[in-house]
Symmetry: C2
């Protein structure tokens, strides 16, 4: 008998924003897996802390590279392909023994989540279930008390990793906007917001729903770099 | 001492997709409020069923109109304004007595949710907290196992209530798309998808995460009308 792969959204950071379902599954099965950057605990692992007991078995998948090589470089793509192949293989080993594996993901697994690369490798052969999670953006607009879309407004979620020209073009064609993955792209994003005359409407949120959360208007932001867990909200 | 208003996202339908925080707050305070259409139980109320005991006090706010008058008509707007004024007033009455009120919302409160109209009326005067919820779209793309955005793709959330021309224009300028609020707008949405050559990529989901969930490619959809709880996903 084959085991089952559950892909669990762990939400934006506050462990209370985990769903009842993710909590139940995590407590019911002893094997869990997660992705983490070198030298870091892993955000999903951190959120899961209070559900983990010493009967749990942990599969830690550490990204071989993060920003050392540009993402569009063939070397980066090959390294990541191989990494996801190996991670899927580790999980597969347990599934073949009839065990259930919970793969933990920050936010929602299918919105820019690495779990989708495991899903595409294993779902053709194994039973998989995906438990949605609260996205970082939902946590942030709730913390900022910003109604993000109403009536006939559209919402556009834009990754800050886009080139300046495309970023600016997207902003011109949007009502309400979430800009994700700010990190090292803060200066470029600021420039796009200035060009589109949106700087005054933009709200910057760092580590939303986490203990050291910061919320401030973009016009008051003086720092030049943003942490990985930061995003910008603009209401249409 | 004033009470506090908690606005709780109850998720897309499955009660297990409620967050631990929403569950705790709902169980800890006896007064809860919700919006419902005439003759219907109310979706948020339905999701909350298993958390409600006979010590709970229920404030039901019934929309005076839904589709009898066009949404852009002044009469519709006035009726809704008055309705939200009265609903806020009811809640206020309890807050002034030092009680905590939980306002329950389907999905996420600040993504097209009616709760934002209560928030704007009460947050200037009372302590408010918003607990984000899993959006219908997150529940749907998880159920369909569709990675909605990856790499540098953008996600655009479009209400089906937009006029055909705007709907078509938005689709032309998007990568991945969620079309919400399908309901009576199915024929128009189909036409926009045909024009933009997206019909083959569109997935229709009815009552996502609920017991009678249906998922099928738009090309196989023969019905002319969709229920309120339906949406369309297109991956970029």
């Amino acid at each position: 008998m084959q085991g089952k792969l559950n892909i669990l959204g762990m939400g934006p950071g506050d462990p209370e924003l985990v769903t009842r379902k993710a909590e139940r599954l995590l407590r019911s099965h002893s094997i869990f897996a997660y992705f983490a950057k070198k030298g870091e605990k892993g955000h999903a692992r951190h959120i899961a802390q209070e559900f983990i007991t010493n009967t749990h078995q942990e599969l830690r998948f550490e990204y071989p590279i993060t920003t050392e090589i540009p993402h569009k470089h063939i070397e980066y793509k090959q390294a990541l392909q191989q990494f996801y192949d190996q991670s899927a293989h580790h999980i597969q080993h347990h599934l073949d023994q009839g065990e259930t594996v919970n793969l933990l993901c920050e936010g929602d697994p299918l919105l820019y989540g690495s779990a989708m690369y495991i899903l595409e490798r294993l779902s053709p052969t194994y039973t998989t279930e995906i438990v949605p999670g609260i996205c970082a953006m939902n946590g942030c607009w709730s913390a900022a008390k910003l109604p993000i879309v109403k009536y006939e407004q559209t919402l556009t979620v834009i990754p800050a990793t886009l080139p300046l020209e495309q970023l600016t073009d997207k902003l011109y064609h949007s009502d309400s906007v979430v800009i994700m993955k700010i990190g090292r792209h803060l200066a470029k994003v600021k420039s796009a917001l200035q060009t589109t005359d949106l700087l005054n409407k933009a709200v910057y949120i760092e580590r939303g729903t986490q203990l050291n959360q910061r919320i401030l208007p973009m016009t008051e932001l003086t720092q030049e770099h943003a942490p990985y867990f930061s995003l910008i909200l603009i209401t249409g």
